[in-house]
């Protein structure tokens, strides 16, 4: 392959950054795919503005994609990039502070003209004023070399030629890290094959970038990262929303219920609607509703009819669904509500992750209306979280919230594809006949699960009416009886609380059993906490960690686990929501680590916080 010297690395973090029209996400995706195929463990984090095309060259218009890959298992997309690929001055300016001393910066010098420098707020070019001192800077004329490489292709405008520069950059980076090129060449053919001139342009730009790395004296060495020792099996790369899509379809199959998705487009949940709409041959119905309320209502209506009703949204849509979730609590029908959390309040920062909807989904309804809450912890774990949310909803005839967030939704990692045949059934039969002599009582409960019978329209003899008015116990008739209401409120609460007996215990990672500090997390902090804990242990300290996948009810052993440690640290991307819950529920004097920056935690900041606690 290369005639240049090769250095072996155990892990690398690359960040691609450029204008939101520069094709950064595509470049990152392709690099990731080639990396996955080489067997490295990896994690990615796209970071892009909500605006589709912010003004070109501006600071708000910068789109980024970070990929972390290694010869061992890793937890996160990485704190600080070892390599920054900056397609213009704005991309350099917004990302430079994250690159540690000694890091590598590859810049597209063609974009460093006066106009772009001005737009990025640079008075002098950072390439010449010494502001990149201490970094390995590679100045590459990406645009002009791309244009030169594309000379002679018919039907390509100079603008289109310039647009292929991301493939030049991709080619260069694949050479630099010893990735293969076949997959990308096939991808170009498949994606752009309908426009042969564009396919040709991208192919040439890609090869030119690869060859530039090989021949340019600027790049003296290339790097190799050996495959990681991951569990054996077949893998694919998957995003959180992709895994949720697969999980929902799997839940439909495992329950034998047709999947009905009601949704209204909203960032960062829309891709679940889009992806499910492509899988109608699984009997999936996708209903793009007039609003969030109707999306949830239609899903509940479909559930009444015997479908697996699901609705997807993010915080600003979830607040609108509250009344329908309350009705589902009263009707005791299965419903899965996905909240792909993003930074709030209100519209907040639509593309940025946050964990601040926990208390909303737990308590954001009128009256006493308990709802089980499941939280996904990594992109691939979203698959099992979706099945689990559906299982609980179906078995206990209840709405269930599934929490994910923007970083899980768009982030990706390798996924050991599960054996379909080994996935357990989550089916729960419909009512088929009377349950009290000749009578049918729609609220006569299963003594174990406290779930009521699910009698779907079309079943002869079980005609009944349900609604949002308080029910008489057993018969389901309308009741204003004070004691009945008190009993029903407690029954509904007990039904949800009893689910604790049907979920796994909270697992504690405490290898030597001597830790005095427990780090307790939930949701997407799983990765950063895992990486931080590993660092702290490497430094010779003992620390335990546990991650909650169930926020309501908590696993039965949660209190015991928390009380076993001198100190419990709860890192959250909110101002202390789980912290408040566990302090209230278990009287544990836990402390929080809370940042709401619209970014995942850095494992280094968590490691410092844990270390400070351990050393105290």
């Amino acid at each position: 392959m290369s005639s240049k010297p090769v250095e072996h690395l155990d892990r690398v973090i690359i960040r691609f950054a450029g204008d939101s029209g520069d094709g950064i996400q595509l470049t990152g995706d392709r690099f990731t795919s080639e990396t996955a195929l080489l067997g490295n463990d990896l994690a990615t984090l796209p970071d892009f503005p909500a605006e589709i095309r912010a003004p070109a060259g501006s600071l708000p218009g910068v789109s980024g994609f970070q990929v972390h890959f290694a010869d061992h298992d890793i937890f996160t997309s990485g704190d600080q990039p070892n390599v920054l690929v900056a397609m213009n001055p704005a991309a350099l300016k917004t990302n430079l502070a994250d690159v540690p001393k000694g890091g590598m910066v590859i810049v597209n010098t063609d974009a460093f003209n006066e106009r772009n420098l001005q737009k990025a707020g640079y008075e002098a070019s950072p390439l010449s004023d010494g502001s990149l001192a201490g970094l390995h800077v590679h100045e590459v004329a990406l645009t002009s070399m791309t244009v030169t490489a594309l000379k002679g292709i018919e039907g390509i405008t100079s603008r289109e030629a310039e647009r292929s520069k991301n493939f030049f950059a991709l080619g260069l980076m694949l050479w630099l890290y010893h990735r293969k090129t076949e997959g990308t060449l096939a991808f170009i053919e498949q994606k752009f094959g309908n426009t042969p001139s564009i396919a040709e342009a991208n192919t040439r730009a890609f090869k030119a970038g690869y060859n530039y790395g090989e021949t340019s004296e600027d790049f003296a060495v290339s790097y190799e990262i050996a495959p990681a020792h991951l569990a054996p099996g077949r893998y694919r790369q998957i995003t959180g929303n992709g895994a949720i899509t697969c999980g929902l379809i799997a839940a439909s199959r495992l329950s034998g219920l047709p999947l009905f998705l009601g949704a209204y487009p909203i960032t960062p949940a829309s891709s679940i609607l889009e992806e499910l709409a492509r899988h109608k041959n699984f009997g999936v119905t996708t209903f793009q509703a007039e609003d969030e309320i109707a999306a949830c209502g239609a899903a509940l209506g479909a559930s009444f009819g015997g479908s697996l009703g699901v609705t997807t949204s993010a915080g600003p849509g979830v607040v609108l669904k509250s009344e329908m979730v309350g009705l589902a609590v009263m009707l005791e029908l299965p419903l899965v509500i996905l909240d792909i959390q993003r930074a709030g309040p209100s519209t907040g920062m639509p593309t940025k992750p946050e964990q601040a909807d926990l208390l909303l989904v737990l308590f954001g309804r009128n009256g006493e209306s308990p709802v089980p809450v499941v939280a996904a912890s990594s992109p691939s774990q979203c698959f099992h979280a979706a099945i689990e949310a559906a299982r609980i909803a179906i078995k206990y005839r209840t709405p269930v919230y599934l929490l994910s967030d923007a970083s899980l939704a768009n982030g990706s990692e390798p996924w050991l594809i599960p054996d379909v045949d080994a996935l357990p059934s989550i089916a729960s039969p419909f009512a088929t006949g009377p349950n009290d002599g000749d009578l049918f009582h729609p609220y006569k409960r299963d003594p174990d699960t406290l779930a009521r019978p699910w009698a779907v329209p079309g079943t002869p003899g079980l005609e009944h009416r349900i609604g949002g008015l308080e029910k008489e116990d057993v018969t389901g008739g309308i009741s204003y009886d004070p004691d009945n209401h008190d009993a029903m409120v407690r029954l509904r609460a007990r039904k949800v609380a009893n689910i604790a007996a049907d979920i796994p215990d909270l697992e504690v990672d405490d290898p030597d059993g001597g830790a005095r500090i427990l780090v307790l997390g939930w949701g997407s902090t799983y990765g950063p906490i895992g990486a931080a804990v590993r660092r702290v242990r490497k430094a010779g300290h003992e620390v335990a960690s546990a991650h909650l996948h169930y926020l309501n009810p908590f696993p039965r052993n949660t209190g015991d686990v928390l009380r076993r440690y001198d100190r419990v640290l709860v890192p959250e991307m909110n101002t202390g929501q789980l912290l408040k819950l566990i302090r209230a529920e278990f009287l544990v004097d836990a402390v929080g680590y809370n940042r709401v920056r619209g970014l995942p935690f850095r494992s280094s900041e968590l490691a410092e916080t844990i270390t400070a606690l351990v050393e105290r």
Binding site: L230, G233, N281, F287, D291, A298, L327, P457, G461, R465
Partner: protein, 333 residues
């Protein structure tokens, strides 16, 4: 609760009465409508278990409790949305939505118009009494301007909706109107509404004898003001008739005037139906009743089912294993 009969033995109105005591105010127009609906149901020849009544909140929304069918009394305004999900997922059911003017045109206005344009296979009965009854007498989105109520002691200042104009403007394929006490005509309209594939929208003038008594006396009591629309027949009532003026609007003229409109509810263009919907007590004192519009357009649920069928034909029934293994995969040994 009696057992279903699978449609083998002919049902009667009695079979559609549930064991719940009807709790509307004595004298409420809803009683007459309930009787008409229960009386008409056997004609459908659909087994009870295949019929679902969905409602929102309000006086009219208590309706499902009194029907011995499947039913859901849901949330204020949301019945069309819930029914859309049910009717789309379960094409074998006969789904009915019942609500009042506040329920459907105020808090649920958005769901109503989108349901109508989609043309989901539903029958929507809007029981219009031009007032909020359950909350005890505030003005509603169909109350006439200047309406003095508890919430508008100096009279309401907003322009009301004309429910049929809203429905026609929202691309409804079936639009009709009837009067609560006019059982024969109401049953006729229900019959046609139930037979229509797609969303049928029926406004029923319903007297609230407590908070808005006599609101429809001009046509409920003064029968000479009833303009019965009959397909293929000239639109005449007594010695008066309806023709289209030069500006496209409908006007009431002497029945002997040339150019009296011949009613054609199946006309694809909704302009004439819309013009007819503008004939009200306020404009001419007389009011058309019956079917304004009934046109064929593919129903939403049908189109959704077609796409599922087509996708399955083209790609075969989905295989979970194939789905999970889609895209680039690699083996680690």
């Amino acid at each position: 609760m009696s057992s279903g009969n699978g449609g083998l033995i002919p049902l009667t109105a009695k079979d559609f009465k549930s064991d719940q005591e009807v709790r509307w105010c004595p004298g409420c127009g809803d009683y007459a409508i309930l009787n008409a609906v229960q009386g008409f149901m056997p004609e459908l020849e659909i087994p009870r278990e295949k019929i679902v009544f969905v409602s929102g909140i309000g006086c009219a929304a208590r309706f499902p409790y009194y029907m011995e069918t499947y039913g859901m009394h849901s949330i204020h305004g949301r019945a069309p949305a819930i029914a859309t999900g049910l009717a789309t997922a379960r094409r074998d059911l006969s789904v009915w939505v019942i609500g009042g003017d506040g329920d459907m045109l105020s808090i649920g206005g958005n769901h109503l118009i989108h349901t109508l344009r989609r043309n989901v296979n539903l029958t929507i009965l809007l029981l219009n009494n031009e007032v909020y009854g359950l909350t005890k007498g505030q003005y509603s989105p169909t109350s006439e301007r200047g309406k003095v109520t508890k919430s508008t002691p100096m009279g309401s200042v907003d322009q009301p909706f004309n429910p049929l104009s809203v429905a026609i403007g929202a691309e409804a394929t079936f639009v009709a109107r009837a009067i609560d006490t006019d059982k024969k005509e109401l049953s006729e309209v229900l019959r046609a509404a139930a037979a229509h594939r797609g969303t049928s929208f029926v406004e029923v003038f319903q007297n609230c004898n407590i908070y808005n008594d006599g609101a429809f006396d001009f046509v409920r009591e003064q029968k000479e003001n009833r303009i019965y629309l009959r397909a293929g027949e000239p639109i005449v009532f007594g010695d008066r008739g309806v023709r289209q003026a030069e500006d496209g609007s409908a006007e009431v003229v002497d029945a002997s005037t040339p150019g009296i409109l011949v009613h054609d509810p199946s006309h694809v263009e909704p302009s004439v139906a819309f013009a007819l919907s503008r004939l009200t007590f306020d404009t001419v004192g007389a009011t058309p009743l019956g079917i304004f519009r009934s046109v064929a357009r593919p129903a939403y649920d049908e189109a959704v089912a077609d796409q599922i069928r087509l996708a399955t034909e083209q790609r075969g029934e989905g295989d979970l294993k194939t789905l999970l293994h889609a895209g680039d995969t690699w083996q680690i040994d």
